[in-house]
Amino acid sequence: MQDKPTPSDLLAAVAHYLRDQLLPTLTAHHAFQLRVSCNALDLVARQIAQEPAADAAEIERLTMLLGHGGALAELNAELSRKIADGDLTLETPGLADHLWTTTLAKLAVDQPQYGPYRHEATRQQ
């Protein structure tokens, strides 16, 4: 077990320094790249916080859909194959719900400000 501060706290501290202290001193080109970098740090912080629970739930749903467990990447590859082959379709019970839940979990990390995500996430509550 590692000591505190946690990775999330460290990332937040770094992002704070870059945004509030370094950014105002930069040229336009570097200011743009730094803003993107800060967004990347925020994304990483969200992923650290959300990924374990989201991945566990995704594996559980995939195990139900495919009838067996396994590593997440392999289960996703198998699901992709079965969709491509037409073995699983939107009529398959649970598939649409699974894809929706998985997609919303991705957006919650990748781009929580994206309009369609905000719309769909609000509706879910």
């Binding site: 990347a40 929706w100 997609t103 990748d110």
Partner: protein, 358 residues
């Protein structure tokens, strides 16, 4: 000449074709100052120009430049725009600048709001390749067009205008145009599929979308038309009176005209105004009505949906390509973050393929 930021389809295509990263050298043979050489070219079509003012580079990648300038003419100052590829720089756009100029001239003749092309640069000008055109007033930034108060009154009319403009573009006889690439829907889908498989781990939502699209391929026997290729909010200049110019012809080709109608409806170009499917400013019904009224023919809503969905797939696959390329880029953070925007297209695809009810 779009000023809409870096992550545009044309810009991303250039990155995917390894253009931005291959350090490009300028090899102009004439070393005299740029404004003097520019003035000499401007005088070829406007001999009364005394001098140039405010010569400013607006944007552009390494291979293409866009400049703004003010020509001081006998009758007063006149703003102009130069699109140029310096000599010695390989032109890797989808179409070359001479073709782009010819398309803008054809569009203007067809009644499409368009800058006027003053002059196409000739080899003997020793000024690279490109053309000079009139400056047109208007806003190109999509997020301003969908939100700013000054456009509130015109916004409800823009979808119909876009439909009318597309009908005029699609009515241009391809026989009157320079040679353009021919893109067939099935070939485009299969190229996208190969790129997806190359650039990404398996993605269930994209597999579903590819299967859906392949089962609904549009009829390819229809007569191919001139397709703008990047007709969307961000590539039109808008004033409070309406569309003042259509820009960015560099992805033009001969193909299925419905592709243009689908692309302007694609969710990525709504700037988060999700209840206005046409560019974040209007409704599909108005787009289709304008298109039909202007002689474009009847629009099948199912075909429109096909191209809207393919638009999200196209943009999504481009984002995957950015993520794939990030490590070899000199802008790895930026490209990585564009890669992580692929999921935006997945939620847009889900909203089309499996909407969750009202």
């Amino acid at each position: 000449m779009s000023l809409t930021g870096r992550a545009t389809p044309a810009a991303l295509l250039r990155v995917l074709e390894r253009e931005w990263e291959g350090a490009i050298q300028q090899h102009d043979t004439d070393k005299s100052p740029f404004p003097d050489r520019l003035l000499a070219v401007v005088r070829k079509f406007a001999p009364d120009v005394e001098r140039l003012d405010k010569v400013v580079r607006l944007s552009g990648g390494a291979s293409q430049e866009t400049w703004s300038l003010v020509a001081m003419r006998a009758r007063g100052p006149e703003r102009m725009i130069l699109r140029r590829a310096p000599a010695g720089v390989p032109v890797v756009e989808k179409i070359d600048l001479e073709t782009e100029a010819a398309l803008m001239q054809a569009a203007e003749r067809a009644g499409v709001p368009s800058p006027h092309v003053h002059y196409v640069i000739r080899p003997e000008d020793d000024f690279g390749r490109g053309f000079l055109m009139s400056h047109v007033d208007g806003e190109a930034l999509g997020r301003k067009i969908v939100r700013d108060e000054q456009f509130a009154a015109i916004r409800p009319k823009l979808a119909r205008q876009a439909g009318e403009i597309l009908a005029a573009i699609h009515a241009i006889d391809p026989a009157c145009l320079p040679n353009l690439p021919r893109i067939k829907p099935r070939e485009e889908i299969e190229t996208m599929f190969e790129n997806y498989r190359r650039w990404s781990e398996p993605r269930p939502v994209f597999e579903l979308a590819f299967r859906w699209a392949r089962e609904r391929m549009p009829d390819e026997s229809a007569k191919p038309r001139l397709v703008h290729g990047d007709f969307r909010n961000g590539n039109m200049l808008i004033t409070p009176q309406g569309v003042s110019a259509v820009l960015d012809w560099e992805l033009a080709h001969i193909g299925d005209p419905m592709r243009d109608l689908g692309w302007i409806c694609t969710a990525s170009w709504r700037f988060s105004v999700i209840d206005k499917p046409v560019g974040g400013f209007g409704q599909r019904e108005d787009l289709m009505a304008g298109y039909e009224a202007a002689g474009g023919g009847r629009v099948d809503p199912e075909v429109l949906k096909f191209w809207e969905l393919v638009g999200s797939m196209r943009w999504g696959v481009m984002c995957m390509g950015m993520g794939f390329r990030a490590k070899q880029s000199d802008r790895p953070v930026e490209l990585s973050m564009i890669g992580r925007r692929t999921s935006e297209n997945e939620i847009d695809l889900m909203r089309l393929l499996a909407p969750r009810g009202a």
